[in-house]
Symmetry: C2
Subunit: 265 residues, 2 copies
Amino acid sequence: MKILFVFAHPEPRSLNGALRDVAIEELKAQGHEVRISDLYADGWKSEVDRADFPSLAPDGRFIPVAASKKAFDTNTLTDDVKAEIEKLLWADTLILQFPLWWFAMPAILKGWVDRVFAYGFAYGVGEHSDQRWGDRYGEGTLAGKRAMLVVTAGGWEEHYAPRGINGPIDDLLFPINHGILYYPGYDVLPPFVAYRVDRFDEAGFEPVAERLRERMRTLATTPTIRYRPQNGGDYLVPSMQLRPELSEPDATGFALHLNGAGAAG
Amino acid sequence: MKILFVFAHPEPRSLNGALRDVAIEELKAQGHEVRISDLYADGWKSEVDRADFPSLAPDGRFIPVAASKKAFDTNTLTDDVKAEIEKLLWADTLILQFPLWWFAMPAILKGWVDRVFAYGFAYGVGEHSDQRWGDRYGEGTLAGKRAMLVVTAGGWEEHYAPRGINGPIDDLLFPINHGILYYPGYDVLPPFVAYRVDRFDEAGFEPVAERLRERMRTLATTPTIRYRPQNGGDYLVPSMQLRPELSEPDATGFALHLNGAGAAG
């Protein structure tokens, strides 16, 4: 397989750096081709701003969505963004590795998403009408590819459990797994999460490393999270509400968007 | 009241800019003191990196949590971060305004959180033991203050409804409202959200502006989201699981962390 590994930690000599090395070594041992976007090492620019759109008139009003659409259509995105898009199109599997900071991605990785996931590439794809709401959530440019998160968290696993005070980890990661990865078409694998990483020692590292190696060995075969595709009939158009008969009447929450009892994640 | 208004959009002549002006005008008309952190205009640095910790040894391993703790303890955070902390301590109400990009904050605002919410200030506060898990989720440095999000979204409101395909807006914002604002002590107001903002015209603007003015007039009196305080007896220590008797046995999801039937948000 062809794998793009996006890494977002500022210190290569960190636990994150060590886990990245473990993952990449295992991927290469399996014969995969691996390309790496090391956002800190590459000096990735985090902010969406006018500089991202050199063809924008200097005194023009900057509307990010419109600017993104025009730049993608006219091939005038900046070179760093174009290079990432090329890698995403090349890869059949995307891995994002990051520490969970304040229950979300570090800013630099959010900035990678904000800038690379252009209009016409990752959103605004396909026909939008009252009959069909575009190619998204299971369809889109990146359909047929797989994606997976590798996450470290400082807190205890219990605190991220279904009744834990932080909220369930799968719900905390839903905006990323469903909203960022499934949206442009990826099939999303259950995340790899390591907890209490601030307390790690050598003895604690090896079992986690082995668990990560196992996930790298099973990238192609691990069942993906069974999100409901937008255009598979489960949602009303154009309100995009889940059909009433597909859940208990008072059910709510992200888990509604999982397809049936066999749902992973 | 004293209000810190943090604004995270790159274009002042945007709908976000117009809504910001509406909000601030109304706040001033009500006699409040307002300070503004305009992250793009201020050239805010988004990435947590070594440059944030000038006292770190040049060849030392950079561990963000440890570096943050040491810099806060020794008053060696960078001046831009210190200035924001001073504003947060000064204000009794915090407002964060941003466009929802990929179901989360823009990178520049996430970077404001990542950098300003230092260890010892916003986390790592209070006694941590098997008996007590620090001052967080309702207690902490910023307890007694109020916070509120002002958010714009490109999508339809129905798509963010309880059964909408994007997931419910309150769940999408939970990692921010609960995980970033309630965590260091803020009482969190229900968010102001404007939808379909890419289609706005003059006629569409005024009702939204008036709804925002009303929220600004009622900052002090709007009931806050009734999250459960960590140390109020609802959670087991140290697992921080919600006590079994406090919900249906199979209940899960973020709504568990709301306190009872009167819960807003």
